[in-house]
């Protein structure tokens, strides 16, 4: 009894702080999520009346080619993007952490793409892909450069990928650099005395020591690439022939403007599950890797 009363003043302050925060979070995160979950069982268009349709939306999802294509594109984009970004970033980080001149200036410059908005970068690259590269192709008579990559259903995704990678490398590199800086210098000195080459030094010493940073980067880049939106909006609008429809873009486009509110809610929910499962798997692999070290 006494204990309860004594604790209460501090505890009260804590509750006074945390309750509004939880309410706010519930109102703009949990509540809309539950709402979306509810709509995913209806045929709501976003306006007008609607009926409950049970699991029909979920069943339809698996036979809707546009949805399936969007998943295929998003996975293809995320996998290629993650690999490319991490390989490039690791190389960049090694280079930027080596004994070079103008180190901080170079680091500063290579970080610029990260601070610029995806939309405007998309527009600028869109112009480069549509006008400048074909102009170069024509001048030097290189056939495969003469048409805009963004207008080709087969290759447009590569255009989007280039822009995505261009932006993502900056951030990933910075994280790798901070990883490399945690490797103490004497470890290198020891290995140099042992006579190992740069190549074995990297694989046997540097890489194992920065594994935690590799896993952070893998999680971050995969998630960001899975949720790609700005670049699609500014570069292709999902085209040509829906070849670059990302899941986020499809939910936005068809859910809000295409009269598929209920259907796309179901899609959004599946997407949420994919992200959760992905995160759990990622977490497990990471913690196992870290245990091994």
């Amino acid at each position: 009894m006494k204990k309860k009363r004594k604790m209460s003043k501090k505890q009260k302050t804590y509750l006074f702080i945390i309750i509004p925060v939880v309410l706010l979070f519930f109102m703009f995160n949990t509540w809309p999520m539950l709402n979306g979950f509810f709509y995913s069982f209806t045929n709501y268009k976003g306006y007008g009346s609607y009926e409950m349709v049970g699991f029909q939306n979920y069943i339809d999802l698996f036979s809707d080619t546009r949805v399936l294509k969007s998943y295929l594109f998003t996975f293809k984009y995320a996998i290629c993007g993650t690999i490319l970004v991490n390989v490039l970033s690791l190389l960049m980080a090694l280079a930027l952490n080596a004994k070079i001149r103008c180190k901080s200036a170079l680091r500063g410059i290579y970080f610029v793409p990260n601070i610029l908005g995806g939309l405007i970068i998309g527009y600028i690259f869109s112009y480069i892909f549509t006008y400048i590269i074909p102009a170069i192709g024509q001048t030097w008579n290189i056939e495969w450069l003469q048409n805009s990559i963004l207008s080709s259903p087969a290759y447009a995704w590569i255009g989007v990928l280039i822009v995505g990678v261009w932006q993502a490398v900056a951030m990933t590199t910075i994280i790798y650099i901070s990883g490399l800086q945690t490797v103490p210098g004497d470890v290198y000195e020891a290995s140099r005395i042992d006579g190992s080459s740069k190549w074995t030094e990297f694989w046997k010493i540097t890489f194992p020591l920065i594994i935690p940073f590799v896993s952070i980067n893998l999680v971050l880049t995969t998630k960001n690439f899975m949720m790609v939106f700005d670049q699609i909006l500014s570069l292709t609008g999902g085209g040509p022939a829906q070849s670059t429809d990302s899941i986020s873009y499809l939910i936005y486009n068809n859910g809000l403007d295409g009269g598929q509110f209920g259907f796309q809610s179901a899609n959004a929910f599946i997407f949420f599950l994919v992200i959760v499962i992905f995160s759990i798997v990622q977490q497990n692999i990471t913690s196992k890797k870290e245990e091994q070290l």
Binding site: T13, V21, G46, I100, I109, F111, L116, V276
Partner: protein, 288 residues
């Protein structure tokens, strides 16, 4: 800490790697080229835009700011800039206060108190919720609450960035010994006063990280204002570009002048606080 690490890593007696330096300097071309293109086109007149390579890459015949003036007029630049600034600054201010308070409470209680532990896990779980799933219900909800405006966008940002940042603050509380709080209590302060006069100032490194992450996130965000404020006529800078693109799609010179203008504020911010931004972003990612 940072400095100590950097020092210990420095390997003495190693020669400058000039080959690498030169490769890296050449590589900055990939960063500068798109920016150069944007600036270049922004200064050109439509008549200078030919399909030849000289037309595409060559410098403009004269430095002329008329494109910028015109772009400012048609995008209502100052209003959009004002909205973007207002949303970003208000979000940062609220973020620092709300997240640090929540992080403080949770950082101090999750180890001992089951209830708070659940609250913490509940808030953190928000990290897995993609915006796509909330987007459509949020449009309806904000419209219903008359929040289809800047204030709604600010509130939403506050909620979206909450999981990550509360986690950062709660984790940072480990660096602030409880004995400091006890000292303040014995000195006569209430929990509330202790937070504002002792804990909040001691969280300074985390404030920098959270402010930078929030600033970059909100300033460049398209999706939230796009879905929440569509049809209200209220623009942020990115939304102004989006509308501009659909309305004046053909006039690239005007468009690029407008893009450049919307990039300038964030570039200035970056040039001024480059160190804090890079370390803040890295900090956030590594700890979060």
């Amino acid at each position: 800490m940072e400095k100590a690490i950097r020092k210990s890593v420095k390997k003495p007696k190693e020669k400058t790697n000039w080959v690498l330096t030169i490769i890296l300097i050449l590589g900055t071309f990939t960063v500068f080229f798109p920016l150069y293109m944007a600036i270049n086109i922004a200064f050109k007149q439509p008549s200078e835009m030919t399909n030849s390579i000289e037309g595409a890459l060559g410098l403009p015949s004269s430095i002329n700011f008329s494109n910028f003036a015109e772009a400012m007029r048609v995008t209502d630049f100052w209003h959009s800039l004002g909205n973007s600034l207002f949303i970003t600054l208000a979000t940062i201010a609220l973020a620092l206060v709300v997240y640090s308070l929540a992080g403080y409470v949770l950082g101090r209680t999750i180890a001992k108190h089951k209830g708070f532990k659940w609250v913490y896990l509940y808030l953190i779980s928000g990290m897995f919720v993609p915006f796509a799933i909330l987007m459509m219900p949020l449009v309806k909800e904000t419209a219903m609450l008359h929040l289809g405006n800047q204030f709604g966008v600010i509130l939403l940002y506050l909620v979206f960035y909450m999981p990550m940042n509360v986690m950062l603050y709660a984790g940072y509380m480990k660096n602030i010994p409880t004995v400091i709080e006890e000292a303040s209590e014995v000195d006569g302060a209430s929990t509330w006063t202790t937070f504002w006069r002792v804990i909040f100032p001691m969280m300074k490194p985390m404030h920098a990280t959270v402010a930078v992450l929030t600033a970059l996130g909100t300033w460049n965000d398209v999706m939230t204002p796009l879905v929440i404020m569509s049809g209200t006529g209220i623009n942020t800078l990115p939304i102004a570009q989006l509308n501009f693109q659909t309305q004046f799609g053909t006039n690239y010179n005007l468009a690029f002048a407008s893009y450049i203008m919307s990039l300038i504020p964030i570039l200035l911010f970056y040039i001024i606080c480059q160190k804090q931004i890079i370390s803040g972003v890295a900090n956030g990612a590594v700890k979060g």
